[in-house]
Amino acid sequence: MIQFQYERVTTAKAAISGLANNSNARFIAGGTNLVDLMKRNVTAPTKLVDINMVPLKDIQQQNGKTSIGALALNSAVADNKLIIEKHPLLSQALNAGASAQIRNMATVGGNMMQRTRCPYFYDTALPCNKREPGSGCGALQGLNRMHAIFGTSDKCIAVHPSDMCIALVALDASVVVAGPKGERRIPFEEFHRLPGNQPEKDNTLQNNEMIISVEIPDNAFNKNAHYMKVRDRASYAFALVSVAAALHMDGKVIKEARLAMGGVAHKPWRLKEAEQALAGKPATEETFRQAAKIAMQGAKAFKYNAFKLKLGPNVIVEALKNAAGLV
């Protein structure tokens, strides 16, 4: 491991100034991804600013929204009574991710900041534009079974690995970030970005900004919500395809729907057109199948991930059926 500076801070302000003047400084919280990346020589920060002591672990309800501190642990959020009651979709998504041990270390902010699990990104002997811009995309012509079908570029077809973020994008969350110039809010859908010509950039955080919290507006999706994750083993694996589905029901009719997919794009993939197609329709398998068809428009497969074109809509339908209580 390459030698680095380590600084422990207790306030957000100190954390932010800890990054100043060093583009190679990184925050560390649970370290469940960053430490792996350092061990594999994928990333070599010259400074780590440990933010675990910054008091950002609170989960609270006020002014029509639920606010979750950036340093709240994944397991603490998943098990939180308020979250289970008001945003069960988020709790389910968190519990579908990683392992109990990792959830006990990983934070909400860290979960959002985790890098892709593309194997070409992790092996420094292989090309990867995300790790080493200009070196090429190993996955494009390679073993791309796990890779994206939406929003890809010829520079990168990696997927965003989080489960939590799929629920958060579906729930219209916003991200509160603080930087040298003060606080701002980023709609969750705009937090992560598509690879385009800059796959090395995963998100829209500016230099020296820090995630403070995530806010979820109050909603009526807590009665009919389901997170479904299909993976290569029953637990502790990244999604082949996952779907966050939530319905606001009026009797047997869908008043409003929320739908997002994981394992299919470089960012949590919100399906707004499919949501619109569901609104006002009866909650039937036929309705769901139609919405799934709309959801998959524009999907493009590569050599080994064509199955996602079929699995994707199937998981959408299954997730919706579960959300609607049809299963």
Binding site: R117, G142, V230, R231, R233, A234, A237, L311
Partner: protein
């Protein structure tokens, strides 16, 4: 030993004798020996699959803090046993020559160890390793099995000897398949699988003198290791010591001595300090063997009422460019069923990969996937229950060797397994059963493995307090060897188990072979038995010599202990061990006994058999498979240690779930590099994948095989599990997946 020996009413399964040491961390593994002045080595692997090293720039690494050496072919000391003409002195896994690490600039596989960085701490060595700059001359590599299958060759062993298990084999008519009323043909692919035991491969190498080497090494044979390194370093065997008291799983990857071991020994010699070297999890995929990717084609001919006419079975497996690795992929096909006509063709393909090594249930598990899937497919085609189809082709003698079985109790397994899995619920027509949205299916597969036995020697000492201490060089990679041996000794002598200790895993102890090929209880068990009986004989002679008339014509079987009281024929002879030894002016008696295979091996075919049943749920829209129940039935002879034996079956079945559903070392052939090479991407089953596993043992001794009556268990625990699950998936869905693993994408 009579049939009821391990069947006594008061027989209590013993907990692992070393269980407490293991769960409290007191058990010491090979990376846990802290020797004074120890240094740490980190290996750098090649980043190309074939070519030569153009240059190694190690200046920055050498200047890094506390680095002791950067070792490569450029500056490595000469290993005396390396021969100039491409020879490595240690035993190859079959034909060929193991890789000589740091010998020259040639690269023959990706991640081949080419540089060792040695420093005063692991972290410093790892940091310095990132500073070494290596340039390569790349050559065209070949790593793709299926694309190059036409270049596969008959192994040298098969070429030389037509009776070799790898040679072409024909029984009956060669073309019988063509004229069979029912003809079935299919191809099956098993991906490369990696052993991935929990404990990483590690070695601590210590030159105690210029010509005296001790290695604390994660291996499956301490004697094999001693011999190999004695040859490699041109030392008398007694100057090399191998210690492997505890081994944290191996599944076969400790059956060979690997380049990293020699690298640590070179490093220790070069820096004149003990050196510890632990592989990374990624290096476990490339430096210590794997189950070779294997393509198989099988043809089965049958009559319409379910009698086998012919089986033709062809396989092509991976090997390296420098060793001809072979395994018994096709053995089961030759002897499991009463088919009058059988042909097998075994081929291997040398590729730019490291050498494979036997992985649990070695070739048989691979072959059984094709054979037992094909049997299920043919049964389906002729509309027969797959168990009835197998029973219709049951064979009462070995049709390959033309010998009677020593024992075979598979009928008991069919009956009990059917009952326990609920086979009566199975429908002949696939896709007929549902549980909610989930499709339900039942499947089974059988397995067999030779009841192997090697010579083994045990030293035993009995003191006047009734403490029995035994020693043997055998290793225990996890099955509970010490526990089983203590139970054999306790049953043979009547001494309580807590008074018995079995020391193992050290090359200075009496000789034993490898812990591999399900041979340990069959080999070492009889030596324990012999040593216990020899001690009893000494006591009888002593007692008779001191005028105890009852002992004059006594035999070892007549004598049993009740604590420290010696009893003859169940009656107290009013003789205590302490008194007897005192009368003879000694404080202990001791013996060394060897036990080895006898001539029965030339008269009988000796095999353990297994049968695995699976009940699965398959989601029709998401393709997820959930194994809901597994029943494992084994005809493994005497079950010496019921608790650890059942654990071994559960572990094997779990490995079988991995084979069937999750494990796949995927390689990008453009680079000849694995892309699934950690435990996040290479999926072994997690708890959520493993259902209730119900174990049934026939538990009838095979006294022709060995005096303990045991036939071995380690391999049959996994052989047949993968096809059982694949067959259950077919029964649930009507979809036949012939390339493992059965991941959701293959079922939607």
């Amino acid at each position: 030993m009579n049939e009821a020996f391990f069947d006594k009413k008061d027989y209590k399964p013993l907990d692992r004798v070393d269980g407490r040491l293991k769960v409290t961390g007191a058990a010491k593994y090979s990376a846990e020996y802290a020797l004074p002045n120890m240094a740490y080595a980190v290996l750098i692997g090649s980043r190309i699959a074939k070519g030569t090293i153009k240059s190694i720039d190690s200046k920055a690494a050498e200047r890094a803090p506390d680095v002791l050496a950067v070792i490569s072919y450029v500056n490595a000391i000469k290993v005396p046993g390396y021969q100039p003409k491409g020879k490595h002195p240690s035993e190859p896994s079959t034909q060929g020559q193991p890789l000589r690490v740091f010998f020259d600039n040639k690269i023959v596989s990706n991640d081949q160890p080419i540089v060792a960085v040695v420093a005063t701490s692991f972290e410093k060595a790892r940091h310095a390793a990132t500073l070494v700059k290596i340039q390569y001359n790349k050559e065209q590599h070949m790593t793709d099995l299926e694309a190059n299958a036409a270049k596969a060759v008959l192994p040298a062993s098969g070429k030389k000897n037509p009776k070799s298990p790898t040679a072409d084999y024909d029984r009956g008519e060669k073309n019988a398949f063509e004229s069979a009323p029912v003809k079935f043909e299919a191809e099956y692919v098993l991906p490369t699988e990696v052993h991935n035991p929990m404990e990483l491969q590690s070695i601590t190498a210590h030159w105690e003198a210029d010509d005296k080497l001790t290695v604390y090494d994660k291996v499956q044979g301490t004697k094999m290791t001693q011999k190999n390194f004695a040859k490699e370093w041109n030392l008398p065997e007694e100057n090399v010591k191998c210690i492997a008291t505890f081994v944290g799983g191996a599944f076969g990857n400790g059956l060979h001595n690997w380049p990293h071991e020699t690298a640590a020994i070179i490093a220790a010699k070069q820096v004149k300090r003990p050196v510890k070297l632990v592989l990374t999890r990624e290096q476990m995929f490339t430096m210590v063997g794997y189950r070779p990717r294997t393509w198989q084609k099988i043809q089965v001919g049958a009559t319409k009422d379910g009698k086998l006419v012919a089986i033709n079975h062809h396989s092509v497996g991976q090997t390296s460019s420098y060793e001809e690795f072979t395994e018994s992929t096709l053995q089961q096909t030759r002897m499991m069923y009463a088919s009058p006509n059988v042909s097998t063709r075994y081929r291997i393909l040398p590729l730019n990969l490291a050498t494979p090594i036997w992985m649990r249930g070695p070739g048989e598990a691979t072959g059984a996937f094709a054979l037992e899937s094909a049997m299920d497919e043919v049964a389906h085609e002729i509309g027969m229950d797959p168990i009835d189809f197998r029973l219709a082709n049951y064979t009462e003698s070995d049709p390959d060797k033309n010998m009677p079985w020593s024992t075979k109790y598979m009928r008991e397994c069919y009956e009990e397994g059917k009952k326990r899995i609920g086979w009566e619920n199975r429908k002949l027509k696939p896709g007929s059963l549902r549980d909610g949205e989930w499709l339900v299916g039942y499947g089974m597969g059988t397995g067999t493995f030779g009841a192997n036995r090697n010579a083994a020697t045990v030293h035993a000492e009995l003191d006047s307090d009734g403490n029995l201490v035994m020693h043997c060089a055998i290793t225990d990679i996890g099955p509970g060897t010490g526990t089983a041996m203590v139970q054999i000794a306790s049953n043979t002598t009547g001494l309580p188990t807590e008074k018995i200790t079995f020391h193992l895993g050290n090359s200075t102890f009496p000789n034993a072979g490898l812990q591999g090929g399900s041979s340990t209880v069959n080999s070492v068990g009889p030596a324990v038995l012999a040593a216990c009986n020899a001690l009893k004989e000494q006591l009888i002679t002593m007692a008779a010599g001191k005028g105890n008339a009852a002992f004059t014509s006594a035999k070892p079987d007549d004598l049993m202990f009740d604590k420290t009281e010696i009893q003859l024929g169940g009656k107290s002879a009013k003789l205590t061990l302490g008194d007897l030894l005192k009368q003879n002016n000694i404080d202990k008696i001791e013996t060394t006994n060897e036990s080895k295979p006898d001539e029965n091996r030339n008269k009988y075919s000796m095999n353990a058999f297994s049968m695995h049943f699976a009940m699965v749920h398959v989601h029709p829209f998401t393709g997820q498979v959930r194994v809901k129940k597994i029943v494992c039935c084994a005809d493994a002879g005497t079950i010496v240690s019921p608790k650890t034996a059942a654990s071994q079956m559960i572990g094997g079945a779990t490995g079988g779930i991995g084979m069937a559903l999750t494990e796949d070392a995927m390689m990008d052939h453009r680079f000849g590099r694995y892309i699934t090479k950690d435990l996040a991407d290479y999926h072994v089953p997690v708890h959520a994948d493993v259902p209730e596993i119900d174990v049934y043992f026939v538990n009838k001794p095979d006294l022709l095989a060995d005096p303990v009556g045991s036939k071995g268990l380690g391999e049959i625990a996994i052989i047949g599990v993968a096809p059982a699950i694949a067959n259950a998936v077919f029964n649930a869905t009507g979809k036949r997946i012939r390339e493992l693993p059965i991941t959701p994408d293959k079922l939607i």
